[in-house]
Amino acid sequence: MANDLILRVITKWLSPIIILFALYVQFHGDYSPGGGFQAGVIFSSAILLYALTYGLDAALQLIPEMALRIGASLGVLIYGGVGVASMILGGNFLNYSVLASTPIAGQHIGIIVIELGVGLTVASVMVLLFFTFARRVAPE
């Protein structure tokens, strides 16, 4: 597949658009269908497309595997961190109402931040799964 001109050109144009759409789904998820889980899988499908067309090495240059491992853990940490932050501010675990001056603003901030954590973990884990599997295919 590495020499197929049509695939290479289309992938080059399509991957950034898919990533842009993933970011839209992530940050506009409060008002339109979307959220962290959806954005995470859409983002990872863009990276998968890139890796399938340009090869695993090119994709690894784009995103090093260490960054993915850190990203996967960081997402859960952000999620749990919001819960702890709301406990420190005097609420219950994961009660976002205390995060800002009014409960609704607090809820909104909490939802956006935890969706970010979810998106980070899901995207990182999905790409990491693919990289781990794909490395087994390479002839040794």
């Binding site: 889980f37 675990f93 935890i114 899901v122």
Partner: protein, 186 residues
């Protein structure tokens, strides 16, 4: 109208599931599985669940199918063997009996789309009534996912991370361990 589209897609879905069952060529099976997921995503749109449809379209048609293809490539198995010794009668009887029992169980369920049925009365009605007011988020799926059921989602994200760690532990090291050779060499 929506019921007709629903039924049409479901019949296609059944055909696709049977095709996955029948085909011996495993690469063809992976592609058919991708089509199956795409049909399910279409059904989710008909069932008013665009959030779920998004996820299924990206996960089922994209990631699952690619993972299946990568597994096929790394196990180098293109065709399924025809195994004659294994009896197919017992699984068939179990599936037919279980399917019949499940269909018998659905006679108690409310009809599709019945607004007065029990699932729509209690907590769901509360979410629809107060959800936007309490969280400031118009998309109720996001509101319930992130706010009302935050603990649930935290658990799910942890499961995704744990599965990722599990795959890394199984496939991460490059040294291949052959159980049979080790056992024979003892």
């Amino acid at each position: 109208m929506s019921l007709a589209v629903n039924l049409l897609l479901l019949v296609f879905l059944l055909v696709m599931a049977l095709a996955v069952l029948k085909t011996r060529h495993l690469f063809a099976m992976a592609m058919l599985f991708g089509l199956y997921s795409l049909l399910v995503a279409g059904l989710f749109v008909v069932l008013d669940a665009p959030d779920v449809a998004f996820t299924e379209a990206a996960v089922g048609t994209g990631i699952s199918t690619v993972l299946m293809l990568v597994t096929l490539a790394s196990t180098k198995s293109g065709h399924e063997l025809v195994s004659s010794e294994k009896s197919r009668a017992a699984p068939l009887i179990i599936c037919v009996v279980m399917g019949a029992l499940l269909i018998y169980g659905t006679h108690d369920l409310a009809e599709l789309g019945d607004a007065s049925s029990a699932p729509h009365q209690e907590v769901a009605a509360r979410y629809i009534e107060k959800g936007q007011e309490e969280t400031g988020v118009p998309n109720l799926v996001t509101a319930v996912l992130a706010s009302y059921r935050g603990f649930d989602t935290l658990g799910e994200v942890t499961v995704v991370l744990t599965a990722g760690i599990g795959v890394l532990m199984l496939l991460g090291n490059r040294k291949k361990l052959r159980v049979k050779e080790l056992a024979n060499g003892k």
